[in-house]
């Protein structure tokens, strides 16, 4: 295990070499306090989505793996935060190099100061824009973890995330949102990240699931969620945070933000209902997991469209999202037999693709004059542009993910050993048990013994017990 540390430590060291002075200049041009307040808080809302996702996923894995999935999401929060400050933001949003990537000019946040950078947002401090975007980078990487849940080695996971976020997310964000990015220049509409966030994570998840292979026992018997109330709590935090995600993408506290909030809520609600009814008709019961999965599917699908469509379009987008994502996870997955553990592809890949295309159908300049009209508003070419964006993202994410994982697999094994998988990743990877003293029921703490040297010194004098 200790050997496996060398990789991550070297990477960390490398990251530090890039450290510039990075003191950001004090405020010169004034930002709008309302917009600033809104985007700061929106950033916090998007941040809470990642723990929300961790819980959403955590409830769905087996008891013995709950900490491993929480840990992966939590560590992504940390790893991507550091990467972003060091060089990630610069790669994604820094001065353009050939329409493909940002340069390293803004590494260590040098030049990313307290005053607005009008190219991205004239009314909020540049650092606020940077932070808001950071939260997107975090959640995107975290989404993928659901696909290879319950079987990836933790050191491999660390390396994978660092490479993926650097070589997949950062360029993709640049293409779609960075000044000079080629998809942005093409006119592709992606209000809050249908391609960048959801398609990229969904497709990468599918590839990762295929490369890692199925969990032991998958197919011979169901692998059921260990604690659904945790999943519901996670879904609630996701829904809550998604308002920051979508409405915040207006980058101002204005009517457009309101409209994005409204379409987000509407599509999520409609998709939850349509998933539940689809399942009810198909299998005889309306399930809680169906309701929250549908809600997430709707949130995914509306993401790229949220700032371009009206309420009725949002209803239709949600309605369709709930149904097709349900079919993707229930019928398609069973048909093909891949083990995308927590349905990252079925929900984010499929939902994100539908949302990106739906933007090309339902977008209307009556909602957002800065956008474009879609097919149903007389502009069929927008659908083609959207399709281009979708296909590019599919191919790019799939190929790069495969390359990264195959590269890592040349150096070390991707999966935990069979015994470790049996024992669970919590104990085997992290030396912890999520439920000590809770489930096994016996006060197990009474049955442990300290390993030498880690027992506390007990001098009655210094800390005398009263009785």
């Amino acid at each position: 295990m200790k050997k496996s540390l060398i990789g991550p430590v070297l990477l960390l060291a490398l990251m530090f070499l890039l450290l510039g002075p990075g003191v950001a200049g004090a405020s010169q041009a004034a930002a709008d306090t309302g917009d600033t307040a809104f985007i700061i808080i929106s950033s916090a809302l998007v941040l809470i989505m990642t723990p929300g996702l961790a819980l959403f996923y955590g409830g769905m894995v087996r008891r013995k793996n709950v900490l491993s999935i929480l840990m992966q999401c939590f560590i992504i929060m940390c790893l991507v935060s550091v990467q972003w400050v060091l060089f990630g933001y610069s790669l994604a949003f820094g001065p353009d190099l050939g329409h493909i990537t940002g340069s390293l000019k803004w590494a260590g946040l040098s030049g990313v100061g307290q005053s607005p950078f009008p190219g991205y947002s004239a009314t909020i401090p540049h650092q606020v824009f940077m932070l808001f975007q950071l939260m997107f980078a975090i959640i995107t990487a975290a989404l993928i973890t659901g696909s290879f849940a319950e079987r990836m080695r933790f050191p491999v996971f660390l390396v994978f995330v660092l490479l993926w976020t650097t070589f997949v997310y950062d360029p993709l964000a640049h293409w779609v949102w960075g000044i000079g990015g080629w998809l942005r220049n093409l006119g592709a509409l992606d209000f809050a990240g249908g391609t960048v966030v959801h398609i990229s994570s969904g497709v990468s998840g599918l590839i990762a699931a295929l490369i890692l292979g199925r969990r032991k026992g998958y197919g011979s018997g169901p692998i059921l969620p260990h604690y659904l109330p945790m999943t519901v709590l996670g879904a609630a935090l996701l829904w809550f945070g998604w308002f920051g995600f979508n409405a915040g993408s207006a980058l101002a506290a204005n009517g457009l933000a309101a409209s994005a909030f409204m379409t987000t809520n509407t599509a999520a609600a409609m998709a939850a209902l349509s998933w539940v009814f689809a399942e009810w008709l198909h299998h005889g019961k309306p399930t809680m997991l169906g309701a929250v999965s549908g809600g997430v599917a709707g949130l995914v699908a509306i993401t790229p469209a949220s700032g371009f469509v009206g309420p009725v379009s949002a209803l239709v987008i949600g309605l369709v999202a709930g149904i097709i994502c349900y079919l993707a996870v229930s019928v398609v997955k069973a048909r093909f037999g891949y083990d995308d553990s927590l349905d990252v592809f079925g929900v984010h890949g499929v939902g994100g693709t539908w949302g990106a295309l739906a933007t090309g159908l339902f977008a209307s300049t009556a909602v957002n004059p800065a956008g474009a009209n879609g097919l149903f508003y007389g502009n069929p070419s927008q659908l083609l542009i959207q399709l281009a964006g979708v296909l590019t993202t599919w191919v790019f994410a799939a190929v790069l993910t495969a390359v990264i994982l195959k590269a890592i697999s040349l150096v070390t094994q991707l999966r935990v050993s069979e015994e470790d998988e049996d024992q669970g990743l919590d104990l085997s990877q992290h030396g912890e048990d999520g439920f000590t003293d809770l489930v096994v029921g016996v006060p197990l703490t009474q049955s442990f013994s300290f390993t030498e040297e880690s027992a506390p010194v007990l001098k009655e004098s210094s800390a005398g017990v009263q009785h």
Binding site: P222, L224, P225, E279, H282, H283, G284, K285, T287, L289, G290, S293, Y326, V329, S330, V331, A334, D343
Partner: protein, 112 residues
């Protein structure tokens, strides 16, 4: 001494306990178990797939009693736990060699 071990529907524990109490039996040990037998299981749904579950939650009650009470107690438990639907459970009767009350060291019938 004899051990009466019965596997009951969870909802029947209270009834059985009350009947035993009326009979004068206070001591018992209860365990949560799952079991299968003739009773049909139930169906769960998970993301569009259905699963049959055939291990059903039950309650196991163990009481160690004097040999002379066995018949009466078995009778009494049977009555209290019966619903006449499959899944009512079983009573098993085992021989006990001896018993000790830890607190006092008493053994045999005095211990129970």
């Amino acid at each position: 001494m004899t051990k009466i071990e019965c596997v009951l529907r969870p909802g029947k524990l209270e009834d059985v306990k009350n009947e035993l109490g009326k009979f004068g039996i206070k001591g018992m040990t209860v365990t949560q178990v799952i079991g299968c037998g003739l009773q049909k299981g139930y169906t769960e749904v998970y993301r569009g797939a259905e699963y049959n579950i055939n291990l059903i939650p039950k309650i196991k009650v163990e009481i160690v009693i004097r040999d002379e009470d066995v018949d009466k107690v078995v009778n009494l438990i049977s009555k209290a736990a019966r619903t006449e639907q499959t899944g009512d459970g079983k009573i098993f009767i085992y021989p006990v060699t001896s018993a000790v009350r830890i607190r006092t060291g008493e053994t045999g019938n005095d211990a129970i």
